[in-house]
Structure formats: structure tokens, C-alpha cells
């Protein structure tokens, strides 16, 4: 009986892992396809589709755009989230709960609606579709997340150290940059990298708010119009690789932190 249960759990786990990895393995495998269709039988390995991707100026510039939008919007979201978390945690403000609720509210609204709203607003005030517009949208989706993470990490012992710094004559901005930020760096790092991964992968806001210069997910979407194509597999595999790199970096930093 016990070994039957054990066997059942192993089979179940293998099936679920199989389901989870089936599309990813298919994607990566057929990115090495030698012929023009990413369907069985596998005819590789060949790197021709990776060459095609790297030789495609639209894709490489979209990749750089995506990285730029991700880095800048994540930095802004982390900075604003950090300042707000510190302000709410350290000072008693009127209607604090209401304001905190407002800042976290975008978490409950889908990206599509946030993008639609910005499209309508920008359209009515004549703000052009651009990477900046998409970046503004990415800060909107990531700010609540950064705020929630950083606010949850503003502990009491840090407040005491801040108080000590103030007693020793530090100005508020010195307390923030020299005392609070260094103490919270793992949370700051977490906020920044989570924002990076969300911005990097985000499609619908960029789709609605950019026109000619666009981000990688939108450019991949444009590729999809030509149907199944190993080139899309290749660029998809590269995107996946970058996402994994973000996650592993994140893991390494936190693993080290939780051990020390």
C-alpha cells in the first residue's frame, strides 16, 4: 500500500513536470531545426535560425529597446516604491491606509485595462505612442509590487538604527541613502529584478502604447503572423534564456543571503 502511494506520487510528479516542460522543450528543440518548419521530424541540429535572428535588425533593436525599457522603468518603480514604503512605515500620515491602498490598487487590474486607460489618456492629451509611453505603463504595473515588497521589509530594528543616525546628526536624505537603503538592499534588489522580469515579458501595454520602435514581445508577435517558423523558436528560446538568467541571478543572491 505504502509503496503503491509512493509510486503514484512519482508518476504524478513526472506527468506534471512533463506537462510543464513539454512546450519549452518543443520550443528549444525545434529552434535547432535545419528545415523551414518547426514540426516533427527533427532535422537538426542547425544554428541557421539563430543566425537569422541575430542578423535581423528589427529583432536586435527590439531586444535593446526591451532591455532599456526594463532597466529604466524598474529603476523608477523601485525608487518610487522605496521612498513611499519608507514614508509610510516611518511617519504617521493622515489617511495612510487609503493612500497605501491606492498605490497597491493597480495590482488588481489587468495589464490590458491599464494599457487601454493610458492609450485613451495619451490619445486625448496628444502624447505620442513611444517607448517612453510603454515605460510609463511598466512603472504603473511594477510600482505596487515594489512598494508591497519594500513596505513589508521596513522593520522596527531599522527604525532604531535610523533614529541613532539622526541623533548623530545625519540629515533625512543621508539617513535614507547611507542607512536605510544599504540595510534593505536585498529587498531593493528583489524589487528591481522582479520588475525587470515583468517588464521584459510584458506584451499588451507595449503593444498598445508603441508604434515603430517597439519591444521584443511585440516584435515576436509580429513574427507570429507568418505562422510557425523556426526563427520564432530561436528568438523565443533566447528570450527564455534571458528570463532564466534573471531568475537564476535572483536565486543566487538570495540563496547566499539566506545562508549568511
Amino acid at each position: 500500500m505504502r509503496s503503491a502511494i509512493r509510486l503514484a506520487t512519482i508518476i504524478y510528479a513526472v506527468l506534471i513536470y512533463g506537462f510543464i516542460f513539454l512546450p519549452v522543450v518543443t520550443l528549444v528543440l525545434f529552434s535547432f531545426q535545419a528545415t523551414s518548419f518547426p514540426i516533427p521530424p527533427f532535422s537538426g541540429p542547425s544554428l541557421r535560425w539563430y543566425q537569422a535572428v541575430l542578423g535581423d535588425a528589427r529583432l536586435t533593436s527590439a531586444l535593446l529597446n526591451s532591455l532599456a525599457v526594463a532597466v529604466i522603468s524598474s529603476a523608477v518603480a523601485t525608487l518610487l516604491g522605496f521612498l513611499a514604503a519608507w514614508g509610510f512605515a516611518r511617519f504617521r500620515l493622515p489617511a495612510s491606509a487609503l493612500m497605501r491602498g491606492l498605490i497597491t490598487l493597480p495590482l488588481t487590474v489587468s495589464y490590458l485595462i491599464i494599457g487601454m486607460g493610458l492609450l485613451v489618456l495619451f490619445n486625448s492629451i496628444g502624447f505620442p505612442k513611444s517607448l517612453t509611453a510603454a515605460g510609463i505603463g511598466h512603472v504603473v504595473i511594477n510600482l505596487p509590487l515594489c512598494f508591497a515588497i519594500l513596505y513589508s521589509q521596513m522593520g522596527e530594528h531599522q527604525a532604531n538604527i535610523e533614529r541613532a543616525a539622526r541623533d548623530l546628526g545625519a540629515k533625512e536624505w543621508q539617513v535614507l541613502t547611507l542607512v536605510t537603503a544599504p540595510m534593505l538592499w536585498p529587498a531593493l534588489f528583489a524589487s528591481f529584478f522582479l520588475s525587470m522580469t515583468f517588464s521584459w515579458d510584458e506584451f499588451v501595454i507595449s503593444f498598445l502604447l508603441t508604434r515603430f520602435d517597439t519591444t521584443l514581445p511585440v516584435e515576436i508577435w509580429n513574427l507570429l503572423r507568418s505562422g510557425l517558423n523556426p526563427k520564432t523558436n530561436a528568438v523565443g528560446s533566447l528570450v527564455f534564456l534571458v528570463s532564466i538568467a534573471f531568475v537564476l541571478l535572483f536565486e543566487l543572491v538570495f540563496f547566499r543571503k539566506s545562508r549568511s
Partner: protein, 281 residues
């Protein structure tokens, strides 16, 4: 907590919280107000409730919302049923030192982009794709069956994503449970089934609810998965919204539909609110 926060500071706290508040007001609240205002006009005209009227009277419009809710309900139930045992296996059956690795592996594809993930499923489910090819090779079917461009494909794409998400939330919840609950239940004579039904399941309900709510918000608002995998055979709400912008440039109607979608999500949020509090640690 906040009780010990110092009240002094003058302008300093406002300088700190101001930028985030202003950003949220300017780029989240204002767009929403703009959308609400535009939704009660008609394209190129003045005030009108025609957009809302159209939604409630034209079956092809409200059908999209029903489709969205139906697909989301199916996806949520299947994902919970698949993820719960999986999270339990990861939390209880795998040795402690391998758990982290097993979990990271289980949610690795979670980090691929929406577009790439949906495209990958298209590869798997295509007419001559991996699934059809394998079934034909095994002699289980004579001709490839249509898997892509169906509701089945949309549900599969969604379930794939939400199984990973729910595994994460349920796993976190299971790990928080103290083993003494189980011991106490056993000491009091409860078998594994009763322990599960009366102790473990109620205590992991918050994890399930958080996951189910995220599933609801993300699935009802996702355009990519139904568009790439489901095609245009049946429209879900986000597809209907995007259709108004893409082909017709009808911002008022798109705004009205977005607001209706948001109202539905808000109702769900209020229903789940007690499980979803964001607390300071």
C-alpha cells in the same frame, strides 16, 4: 508597526510618498477617469450610453464576457485540481534539501514571456505538431485532429501557466503549516483522509484563494493566450476589446468594454478580499 513610527518630519514624509502617489494618480487613476468619460460617448459624437446598451443587448458582445468567465472557471478548477497534489508532493514527499531545486524547476517556464509560451503551445498542438504526430505514429488516430484554434487549446495554455502559479502559492501555504497540527489530529484518532479534509485543506484555503484570485484576474484580462491558441472562433472579452481598437479605432466602445471587465474583476476582488490582505511582516 505604525504605532511606534515617529509623527514628526514635517514635509519629509510627503516628499517621500508624494512621487509614488502622484505617479499612481496621473498614470493609473487619471487614465481610468479618461476611460470612464470616453466610454459614455460615441465615436465622433457627444454623450451617449450606446456603448453600454450595445453590450447588454447584442449577444455577440455579452457572449464574450460569458466565454471569458466560463473559460476562467474551467481553468481555475482544473489548475487547482492539478496543482494541489503537485504542491503537496513537493512540500511533503521531496527531501528538504532538494525541495528548492524541485520548486525552481517546477516554475521555470513560468518566466517565459506570454507570447513565447502561447506560441510554444501552438507548436505542440498544431495540425502536424508534436501531439498529433505522436498520436498518429502510435496509431491511436488515423488523421490529425484539430487541437489548435479551439477552446481546448486556450484552456491548455492557461492551465499550463496557472498550474505553476497555484503550485507556488499552495506550496508556500503548506510549508507554513506546523507539523504539530497533523500530529495532534493523529493523536486524536483522525486518519489521513479526515486530517486532510478537516485540518490541512481548511488551513491551505488561503493559498488556494490567493492563487484562484490571481488566476481570475490574469485569465479574464489576458489577450495573448486566447488570441494565439483559441483563434477567432469564439471571442473572449480581451479579444473583443482589442478588436474595437485594432480594426475600427473605436476607443469609446473599447473603453466601455474595459470598464465592464474591470467591474467584474472588482466584484470578485471584494468577494475574496478577506483572504488577500497585504500585511506588513
Amino acid at each position: 508597526m505604525t504605532q511606534s513610527a515617529n509623527a514628526r518630519g514635517g514635509a519629509v514624509p510627503w516628499v517621500a510618498v508624494g512621487p509614488a502617489l502622484l505617479w499612481t494618480l496621473a498614470f493609473f487613476a487619471a487614465p481610468f477617469i479618461a476611460m470612464a468619460l470616453v466610454s459614455v460617448t460615441v465615436k465622433g459624437g457627444g454623450f451617449s450610453l450606446a456603448n453600454y446598451q450595445q453590450f447588454f443587448t447584442d449577444p455577440s458582445y455579452y457572449r464574450a464576457l460569458f466565454n471569458s468567465l466560463e473559460v476562467t472557471a474551467i481553468v481555475t478548477v482544473i489548475s487547482i485540481l492539478l496543482a494541489y497534489p503537485f504542491a503537496w508532493i513537493l512540500a511533503e514527499q521531496i527531501p528538504e534539501r532538494w525541495q528548492r531545486l524541485a520548486l525552481i524547476l517546477a516554475i521555470l517556464p513560468f518566466w517565459t514571456s506570454y507570447v513565447v509560451r502561447s506560441y510554444s503551445w501552438l507548436l505542440v498542438l498544431a495540425e502536424k505538431g508534436v501531439v498529433n504526430n505522436t498520436l498518429v505514429q502510435l496509431g491511436l488516430i488515423a488523421e490529425p485532429i484539430q487541437l489548435a484554434n479551439t477552446r481546448f487549446a486556450t484552456v491548455t495554455g492557461f492551465v499550463h501557466f496557472f498550474v505553476m502559479l497555484l503550485t507556488l502559492t499552495i506550496f508556500a501555504n503548506l510549508k507554513q503549516l506546523s507539523p504539530s497540527y497533523r500530529k495532534a489530529a493523529a493523536d486524536l484518532g483522525a486518519g489521513p483522509v479526515r486530517t486532510f479534509l478537516h485540518i490541512i485543506l481548511p488551513l491551505t484555503l488561503p493559498g488556494i484563494m490567493v492563487g484562484a484570485f490571481l488566476t481570475f484576474v490574469l485569465a479574464t484580462g489576458d489577450y495573448i493566450t486566447p488570441q494565439i491558441l483559441g483563434g477567432n472562433n469564439e471571442l473572449l472579452m480581451p479579444q473583443l476589446i482589442m478588436l474595437q481598437i485594432g480594426r475600427r479605432g473605436d476607443f469609446p466602445l473599447a473603453s466601455a468594454l474595459s470598464i465592464l471587465l474591470m467591474l467584474v474583476v472588482t466584484v470578485a476582488y471584494l468577494a475574496c478580499a478577506r483572504w488577500l490582505k497585504i500585511e506588513r511582516a
